[in-house]
Symmetry: C3
Subunit: 143 residues, 3 copies
Amino acid sequence: MVWDQQEIQLRARERGYHLVTDEVLEALEEHIAPLRVGLLHLFIRHTSASLTLNENASSDVRGDFRRHLDRMVPEDAPYWKHTVEGPDDMPAHIKASLMGSGLLLPIGDGELRLGTWQGIYLCEHRNSGGPRRLVATLVGERA
Amino acid sequence: MVWDQQEIQLRARERGYHLVTDEVLEALEEHIAPLRVGLLHLFIRHTSASLTLNENASSDVRGDFRRHLDRMVPEDAPYWKHTVEGPDDMPAHIKASLMGSGLLLPIGDGELRLGTWQGIYLCEHRNSGGPRRLVATLVGERA
Amino acid sequence: MVWDQQEIQLRARERGYHLVTDEVLEALEEHIAPLRVGLLHLFIRHTSASLTLNENASSDVRGDFRRHLDRMVPEDAPYWKHTVEGPDDMPAHIKASLMGSGLLLPIGDGELRLGTWQGIYLCEHRNSGGPRRLVATLVGERA
């Protein structure tokens, strides 16, 4: 039985949806490789950024995520009360909960068992969110 | 300590929200039964279908999910750029992230500890998505 | 290796978004404290209430969640068919799936490794939802 917990810091990115699979795997590959079966939990310690899985090929998909979410949760809604931190703040909180703060990914034979088209997205909902901290928790059984 | 990982293939379904609790349990019942306490992780290896828990009795609830989500993420939005795979594709990606790619379910005394009204939904967001592959990972302690 | 499963009942709350971090921690603190590394799974056994993480300071944030979600999933949509349990019922089901039925939280050195601003929200989507039952499953390694 293996338990492992790592902190990962993702570099600051502009507002939008960003493919970070490689950045995450680079940090965790050697921790995932020894496991015959297990789970990787990725957790973002923020309330205006989130993690999701989606299509890993076309950058248009990530652009469409931004265009759509910005309309689903608009900055200029007349009912916002929490506006002290700027017009991008409150929509960022709601988008963060819609997308979710964590991902749980199956590990099999030393690899993440993602589908062919699945990639890890960092969803940066603020205009200037800064670097984002993740806690990665691995649990599993050695090969 | 028990670790167990199974692949489940759900048969192709039409676009919409489908109750698949029985199909999932049939595949996993004998793996869940020996566990005194544990967790079942269901993970869908696709980016235009998803899993959620919701009401397991009325088919109108599933119909209303479809009617509402089809309006929340419409096919004819003028801002879509990723349109090469058809008008149902980009909305399917966004719906998939809104609903989520995985479910983690508590196991107690050899059974899933779902609430009375909770059932597992396969959310099929494509018109012709085909069969969908799940990875089921179980971890727990034997009775 | 420690496995632990607890039931927590959250007292009835009015429709809206409620910070319940303290109530949850009070019930689980002594179970979390012994773990060097681990995971806490919180699972709500209902289909019209949900759990999410978000900003733990300003009550305006919680109010804005309600104001926005009530518009994103309106009670008076002309296409609802599942209306027998009242106009708040079907929107509650959809909001529950958008926010999600569970949270998985990393444990490190005997504490939840939440970010500074992260708190646990009970999202009560019904007008009179009553008390809500959670299953808390902890797994980890002792210090």
